[in-house]
């Protein structure tokens, strides 16, 4: 079993839809949870950074962490064609900065 599991998609939605992206993990030591967006032929760009369980909202993006279920989500409201990218979840434990990534979900938002 991989430490971080993420459905690779691809996921295709119409413009304006609400997008839900998810990751599960097996290491209960993970405390810090991140979502990165990666456009084609570019490096990952940090979108959301959360600590422990709970919700965090930033504009159209909401990150949720449920540590009891070892499950994290990223919601994108009013999705736009410019949101088309690969979304990577990442997480690390509290005693080091060794980050583990999911394989990424490829999202396409169609006009």
């Amino acid at each position: 079993q991989k430490e971080v599991e993420q459905d690779p998609g691809p996921l295709s939605v119409p413009e304006g839809a609400i997008v839900s992206l998810n990751c599960t993990y097996s290491n209960s030591a993970f405390q810090y949870f991140m979502w990165y967006r990666q456009y084609s032929r570019k490096g990952p760009e940090l979108l959301m950074y959360t600590y422990s369980s709970g919700n965090k909202e930033d504009g159209r993006f909401t990150a949720q962490v449920d540590k009891s279920s070892k499950y994290i989500s990223l919601f994108i409201r009013d999705s736009q064609p410019s949101d088309s990218a690969t979304y990577l979840c990442a997480m690390s434990a509290s005693d080091n900065n060794d980050m583990r990534f999911g394989a990424g979900t490829r999202l396409t938002v169609k006009p």
Partner: protein
């Protein structure tokens, strides 16, 4: 803008011919990382520097070496590239040592092996 810059963006080398990839940062972060990312896969950590302290991942091939001459620059040397080393190589930095600051990435160098 403060950033992480990788050069070159695209690198083509021959099988077995040494190649060096470079990374520079203006963030003044003390931790720098090198990742390998193959198509549709998660980035895989190769090694990182905490200041001048080098930390190698256990499964990083001996073929891969790194240098960090100062805070701003870090190099990835591949001594004898094989076909399996064709990938995107990502450099990242984080501040605050091991206090779990998020990592910031460059745009990568895409390495092709002929």
């Amino acid at each position: 803008d403060a950033m992480v810059i990788q050069n070159p963006r695209y690198q083509v080398t021959q099988f077995g011919k040494p190649v060096t990839l470079s990374c520079s940062q203006t963030l003044n972060h003390n931790v720098m990382y090198w990742y390998q990312q193959k198509s549709s896969q998660a980035p895989k950590l190769l090694f990182h520097y905490y200041d001048k302290d080098f930390n190698n991942e256990a499964d990083t091939p001996d073929n891969f070496q790194s240098r960090r001459p100062n805070t701003s620059f870090c190099f990835l040397d591949i001594r004898s590239p094989g076909l399996g080393d064709a990938a995107m190589y990502l450099c990242a930095t984080s501040g605050g040592g091991y206090s779990n600051q998020p990592q910031h990435f460059g745009d990568g160098t895409r390495l092709s092996i002929l």
